[in-house]
């Protein structure tokens, strides 16, 4: 009793006092994290009524720094973010080089696959978190050894949607595919998901119009979606060129899903359970807008680093990588269960919300889709389907 009172009297600030009484004495530690952003200009979009936020990703990383500093101040761990936004891949590489030379070894990257590969190759001694590319090749064949992925892959999104459609027994799909390579990649994962979960693509149509659907959808879309008896229309239009104008204009009165309509995503405003409401509120206070999937990917990337540093007591990228790929780093992502990285390809396992613009419709994995290890692994490429073996390189 007596030493405690004495202690309380001497103790003026928790910052100074906390570590003295906490279990092991801790060394002050600065954890420097770099944020590297490069989003290529998508070019003119035909439906550009509601623009995407330009700081998507960055705001998530910044919030995670603030969140992590709260644990940090009790442990004398100081998290710092240095953010660089680039206008070209060359600029991005130069920015990364400068941060690397300044001693940074932990990065959150919000950039296309090509740039991510370049950075991973250029900084083999660093750990990179991919918060910008949903490319399945990164998770199945490219297998960058020093990269973990927090953004869900396209296959995870497609599987999440296909499970829900299986529960609803909407098995006959009309698939509409946009003109960009990303759209074709999205369509490819939808075809794969259809096969995995017992659906049939009864017809597939390539969207080749180049006019603005705002004024002509009512005249054109019904005819375009004519053909066969489908239960649901699947749209692959990642940039939102035409997909927003498919709902309510289909030949048959059917729901629309995919990149528009009912949409699988890593995060959305309407996610509110399991403490998510608090995260949303913190984010909105900071950013003045809603948190999106890339914000979440960047947020959980920084939170992963912080959770590992709290456990390890150091910020060594190799140790953080090894811990992340083990079973011993449960992560809290406000998604109703603990999250963790797949040991084979470094992809963050996570439930996928299915949303429409103003409501959460469902959350996948759906009940009844079983898996011997984790039901979350029914989404995306499972170990036997991927060539990656990241955790085997840990000595």
């Amino acid at each position: 009793m007596r030493p405690l009172l004495l202690y309380a009297a001497l103790c003026l600030s928790p910052l100074v006092c906390a570590p003295t009484l906490a279990a092991p004495a801790r060394e002050p530690l600065t954890v420097a994290i770099g944020y590297l952003g490069y989003r290529p200009d998508p070019g003119p979009l035909l439906s550009n009524v509601i623009p995407e936020p330009e700081d998507a990703g960055l705001q998530g990383a910044q919030l995670a720094i603030a969140d992590s500093d709260t644990t940090g101040r009790f442990l004398q761990h100081d998290y710092q973010l240095t953010a660089r936004d680039a206008q070209s891949p060359e600029q991005l590489a130069a920015a990364a080089k400068a941060l690397h030379e300044a001693g940074l070894r932990l990065f959150v990257v919000n950039a296309p696959t090509q740039s991510l590969r370049q950075l991973a190759d250029a900084m083999p001694d660093s750990l990179l978190f991919n918060a910008g590319s949903a490319d399945d090749a990164l998770r199945t064949s490219l297998c960058l050894p020093n990269v973990l992925h927090t953004l869900p892959s396209r296959a995870m999104l497609a599987d999440a949607l296909a499970q829900f459609l299986a529960v609803r027994q909407w098995n006959r799909w009309l698939l509409i595919v946009g003109q960009r390579p990303e759209d074709r990649a999205y369509a490819e994962t939808l075809r794969r998901a259809a096969k995995r979960f017992g659906h049939r693509v009864i017809a597939e149509k390539a969207w080749s119009f180049d006019n603005d659907q705002r004024r002509s959808a009512q005249a054109e879309m019904p005819l375009f979606t004519k053909g066969g008896d489908y239960d649901v229309v699947l749209v692959a239009d990642e940039h939102g060129d035409f997909g927003e104008y498919v709902p309510y204009h289909t030949w048959l009165p059917r729901p629309v899903a995919g990149t528009q309509g009912l949409t699988p995503t890593g995060w959305h405003k309407t996610v509110e359970t399991y403490g998510a409401a608090q995260l949303q509120r913190r984010f909105e206070t900071q950013a003045g807008r809603w948190m999106n999937d890339r914000d979440f990917a960047a947020w959980i990337a920084v939170r992963s680093i912080a959770a590992a540093v709290t456990q390890l007591g150091r910020a060594d990228p190799t140790a953080i990588r090894a811990l992340s790929l083990s079973d011993d780093l449960p992560l809290d992502g406000f998604k109703g269960r603990k999250l963790g990285y797949r040991p084979w390809n470094g992809q963050l396992r996570q439930p996928i919300p299915l949303v429409h613009p103003r409501a959460l419709v469902s959350n996948s994995p759906q009940d009844g889709f079983l898996h011997p290890v984790s039901e979350l692994d029914t989404l995306g490429y499972d170990a036997p389907e991927s060539r990656c073996r990241l955790s085997e390189s840990i000595r």
Partner: protein, 320 residues
Amino acid sequence: MRTALFVPLALLLVSGPALAATAYVSNEKDNNLSVIDLDRLETVGTIDVGMRPRGLALSADNRLLYICASDSDTVQVMDLATRKIIKQLPSGADPEQFALHPNDQWLYISNEDDALVTVVDVNKEEVRAQIDVGVEPEGMAVSPDGKWAVNTSETTNMLHWIDTATNTLVDNTLVDQRPRHVEFSKDGSTLWASSEIGGTVAVVDVATRQILKKLKFEIKGVHPDKVQPVGVKLTADGEYAFVALGPANHIAVVDANTYEVLDYLLVGRRVWHMAFNPDESLLLATNGVSGDVSVIDVDDLKVTRSIKVGRYPWGVVVTP
């Protein structure tokens, strides 16, 4: 425990059913409380309160009910005799859980959105102190001797030890991911802290504030990720600890002396918080998703009934 059973029975004979123990359950999405008659084990009414009611606490004499109305940013005080809100305390923003000091006067409130613990004097209706803690403060408990107030912060993953004499934070205990609820043993020697995402309950030695034991739970047929401990209740005789396991839809029964998990009781969906009836023969548990309250017979360790309440029942307290 057995002998205690006769007391309310005797009272019942003298004064009729008006004295039946009553449970109050906060319905998070209905902005009201469900009132349960514990003799009939039925919902007998609802009382409208502020927005998003969650944490509930009783005054020492059981006359006043404190209600965290999270979205109204206030703690409401209800006179249970009239069931009227008699005052609204300055709680700070978004109060979620709280604990009343044994002096019946200081209310320790966690302000989830502001990373603060607010201490309110319930008689003077004024804020005594605000203490910086970690992000998303949640669980709150005051030790039986009144010396410690302990708060959990869900994103910072710590137990924050506040000296109630000075209202300063003097120590922190790092626990597993998303600490959700804390409960002192009746003798004040141990503190039980549940970690929802970590899937564990830490039993902490109050004297040293070090973890004595970390409990893990394993339920046949339930995926480990769904085992998410939330509410914890300890019997007054020191025999059992009950741990609500959230979406695992079970309550773990733990031997409070050996820390051995004795049994898992199947309850409703997403079980949150619990309360005993006055003689501790019954335990009530709120099930958020299924919108009901499970009734557990403490002697037999069996779930005997479920009582329909409102949408997203969260907190529960019982008056004699």
